[in-house]
Symmetry: C2
């Protein structure tokens, strides 16, 4: 297996894209390629993620992007795995490059739904759940994650103040991130005064609907030449599934796919959680950050919610979590989210994260979940 690097990365600001998804995807792809120093002609495959491109009446978007980039002959495919779509694309890129099938691969994630009314947009997002068994019966993602939060509260006493501290931290980080959807801090009082969306989750427990696009360029070490930025060495690229529907699971205190993917990733990399300096985790709701930290092995079950209030996971804490602001406050443009997490780690590794720079960047972890954990991707990165 060849050593495989992320050599370029770029993102739009999350929020509302002024142009079409394909145009935004092309812009960030061009910026990522330009910054990578890779000759575009060395790109052997393009993986696009755009789960809800249908909302722009556009499928088969890879050839459109490749044509606009001047590499029309490069094969492409669109990869969908709900909210973990572009981390699934990154996994394919890793397999192609590490396996010697391509010297370099472009990964682009994009989503644009802001031109739709809220009800229509919500009905798209809900397609990540099981339609006949969940969605049609009224289950939405806020409701499903509220169920997880409720179970966690019942079993471990997780409080609103603890969940609120996560929202406060992630907003504080996003306020320092020019790519973020919500560039404003909030207080715990604001959180506690916000309306209940699905008990026990309040408005500020929930990530927003965001547009956005993010791209990364993956290349074999021997194809990377002398990169202009410090690359991320992909030390592990692991994915897992789990029983799709929550009502069929025996245990709702965590997401089994996160546990399986984390075990595989740490085994691949030959390290444990102790070696990781900072994380980008999938906090579509504040409770999801708690579950991630526990399921990934950073805290025992029931202990992670305490980490927020104690400041351990702040950007200057012992273990910075979501220095970007996370899905919660940086935003969650479904298919761009996984690639966007890698953009954050790339900027942190290159000390380009400005006011949200974390102190230590030897090892980082990216964790991206599809729906309520039917899919999960875990990637580990280190320096050369």
């Amino acid at each position: 297996m060849r050593e495989t690097w992320v050599v370029g990365a770029a993102t739009t600001r999350y929020g509302k894209l002024p142009d079409s998804g394909r145009e935004a995807a092309t812009r960030v792809a061009l910026e990522a390629i330009d910054g990578s120093g890779i000759d575009p002609k060395r790109i052997g495959y393009t993986f696009v993620s755009n789960a809800f491109g249908v909302a722009e009446r556009q499928a088969h978007v890879g050839p459109l992007i490749n044509t606009a980039l001047g590499i029309p002959d490069v094969p492409s495919a669109t990869i969908e795995s709900a909210c973990s779509s572009s981390s699934a694309g990154l996994h394919e890129a890793f397999v192609h490059v590490a396996g010697g099938f391509a010297d370099a691969v472009l990964v682009v994630g994009v989503e644009k739904l802001s031109h739709l009314d809220t009800l229509t947009a919500t009905s798209y997002f809900a397609m990540g759940a099981d339609y006949p068994f969940e969605t049609r019966n009224g289950a939405t993602f806020p409701g499903l994650y509220a169920t997880l939060a409720y179970v966690h509260r019942q079993k471990y006493g997780t409080t609103s103040e603890e969940l609120g501290a996560i929202a406060v931290k992630n907003h504080a980080n996003a306020a320092r991130n020019p790519h973020a959807h919500f560039q404003k801090e909030i207080t715990l009082e604001t959180y506690l005064r916000s309306p209940v969306i699905a008990s026990p989750l309040r408005l500020y427990d929930c990530c927003p609907f965001s547009d956005g696009a993010a791209a990364v360029v993956v290349a074999a070490r021997e194809a990377a030449g002398t990169p202009s930025s410090e690359p991320l060495v992909i030390r592990a690229s692991a994915r897992s599934g789990s029983v799709a529907d929550m009502q069929d699971r025996l245990d709702l205190t965590g997401l089994p796919a996160t546990r399986t993917a984390a075990v595989a990733a740490f085994r691949q990399a030959g390290i444990g959680p102790d070696a990781v300096d900072f994380l980008e985790v999938h906090d579509c709701f504040t409770i999801a950050e708690v579950l991630a930290l526990e399921d990934l092995g950073f805290y025992p079950k029931g202990a992670a919610a305490r980490a927020g209030p104690e400041g351990e996971t702040a950007r200057d804490g012992r273990l910075p979590v979501n220095p970007s602001g996370g899905l919660k406050a940086k935003g969650h443009p479904v298919s761009a989210t996984g690639a966007g997490q890698v953009v954050e780690i790339f900027e942190q590794f290159n000390h380009r994260a400005g006011a949200r720079q974390v102190p230590k960047t030897e090892w980082a972890l990216a964790h991206n979940v599809g729906a309520t954990g039917g899919s999960c991707s875990v990637h580990l990165f280190s320096h050369r």
Copy 2:
């Protein structure tokens, strides 16, 4: 690179699925796994193709299928490349297995749109084209392929009778295929009396809208044990793109992506067209079969249309083309089509094709196009 086999294959009949896409996909996946002799626990990844699952309000279908199959932990992703979606999935399966990342991979393609009215269904299919530059301006696939047929007629004198002979042949094959949507023969008179859809293409030049599902199981030789069926050895798995929009191409006498993918595939396999005994090619319209045979290198430009009337491409001819009936008459359930071509080759290699059995099965080629050739996959198969 590990030698990689197709060890199991199954399909629904094409036409109208009585159940949901996910149920049909699960049924054929189960049948393909059962027939393969592979322990489902050895499956390391599932690639589903279901370009228009949104029409059933369902994305993220991989975990639903894996859960129903009893392998919920297996990671999955949905692969879309317009009409070449499941051949793109097969390519990913090949890369994972040949590269040593998985011992066995499940590939499933499914499409169900028959519950929609024709206009809505048409608007889904049209998403494979470029929305702002083609679809919004009234270009549909019949119109775009009619343009290709017109150019071919102008340059090479290709006649309606020659295109009609392809329709007659493919209907004759489909009439002998229990999986086919149209199990009836037609005459040249029927063809010539059928209405013009987009000049010069008539009704019987066009493939139907079909539902359907098809699955194949791919495994490393060393993981396959003693397979219960004769496996297909994947000798080449090549994909290419091309300039997405026809109005931006310099030459409309063929599909450049087919040419590029064919050159790559024949190089991988170390053979030329002369070695191939039969083909499944992408005949979404009769003219597309002509273009495929020329672009793949089986006939010089302008000569393939003559092959039909002379009977060369009949199932008992020198070079049987589309013994299944092809997209034209077997049907074209978008995301199932590529996997379905491989099912046909699997049945032919195992002499289970009944009345449509071709005489020689040493080498076969599968050719699957996305839209008007923005994407193309070419696979070559031989015996052990």
